[in-house]
Structures are given as C-alpha cells and as structure tokens.
Amino acid sequence: MHIKQEMKGDVLLITLFGKVIGGPELMKVKDVFLKAVDQGKKKVLLDLGKVSWMDSSGLGVIVSGHTTLSRAGGALSILNATKKIHELFIITKLITIFETYTDEQEALNSFGE
C-alpha cells in the first residue's frame, strides 16, 4: 500500500494505492489522520479509487479517522470508492455516516457548505 497526500485549498486529499490489508501498514494511515489534526487540517477527503483490495481492517482505520477528525471538529469524506468497496460500506452500514463522492470537485466543494 502507498499513501499520497496533497492539499487542495484547505482540504487534505489522501489517496491510498494498492491493497489495504491488516498489519503495520495500516498504522501509517491512522497516523496520517492523527498528524492532520495535529497540523490543524480538519477537512480530509480520502480517495479510494486506486485501492485494489480492502477488508474490515481498512474500514476500521477509516472509522478511526472519522472519529479522530469529528472529535476535532473536522470531517472525513470518501472519494471514488470502487463498487466492491462501496459494497463493504453498505454491508457494514458505514454508508450512513460517510459522505461519498465520485467527483473530486464536488467533494471538495462539499466541505465549504
């Protein structure tokens, strides 16, 4: 798994690449959310469009990120969840707590609303 971060205005765009599978790699994602809050970046968009495989461990880290950001008064939204990842969000009902988008600009604009 590979992680890319870039600022889009005041929104931190985090893109994950490859397999999001259990293990130490996942802690890196958790750390990214924690560091974002430490640095005052409370609007985060997580792009899952390049994730080829993900299981419940990946969902757990995303939930952790949501909690971290929410407690800091921020928000985490999801961009480009593949059909299979979207299915996991539906099965686990996490779809009810995350805003999901397929258009980056629309997702970025949503933080300003």
Binding site: I21, D55, S56, G60, E87, K93, I97
Partner: protein, 139 residues
Amino acid sequence: MIVRPIEIRLPSEISVLEPLQLIIEAIGRSAEVEEDDLSLLSVAVVELAKNAMEHGNKNDPEKMVTISFNFFPNRIRFMIDDEGSWEPEKALGFKPGEGKELLLTRGRGVLIARNLAKWVEFGLTPEGKTRVTLIWPLT
C-alpha cells in the same frame, strides 16, 4: 466432482494474509468464479482466517490456521479451523452495524463474510476445535 479436501496450513501471523488472499483467488479462478467476484471471495475467507488467528489462536504464530476446501458441482466449501475452542457468540456478540457500535474500529469481519458468502456457519472439528464453514455458490 467431489474430491478429498485440499488443506493449507498457515501460522497466525498478519504477514500471511496477503499470500492467502492470492491463494484464495487462485482457488476461485480454478473453480471458474467470475473474475469480478474473486476479490469478494478472498475478502470473505481472509476475514474468517483473521478471526481464527485472533480469537482461536490468540495471534500466537506457533499456532496454525488450517483452511481446507472442496469443489462441488455448484459450490466451493471452505473450512477454516483454528487451535482454540472459542465461542463465536461471546467473542462476536456485538453488532458492529448497529447504534453506537457502528463506530467501532473492529469486529466487522463475520458480518462482511456472511453477507458476501451467503452461508457462513460456526461449528466444531471432531477434536472440539472451532471450525467455520463457508460455502461459495458457483453460478
């Protein structure tokens, strides 16, 4: 086509999950599971293997998880055995998709496996160890 089960034995280590994912997809491919469904099959089996490592084997790398599989004309049967005798209802007796438990960071594995595979059942091996049986229908 019914053959004797083929077994894979894995130590209870997170590092085996990625190879396991590839093996399960290869098994699915050989049974002509649709290409689009292979990753769903591997997610379901990997989730159950992780549970076996954690709840059955307490993540002790000396303890093994055994995954055996059979091909039948219209389904694949996977059996995931660990070395413990844990009670799934106690270990998994919460509903990660409900109420305040929606925001738990863990505990969604069986929920996901059950939804993807349609048939997941907990039981015991003849030796009294925990066994999970997963049936993957073939279309």
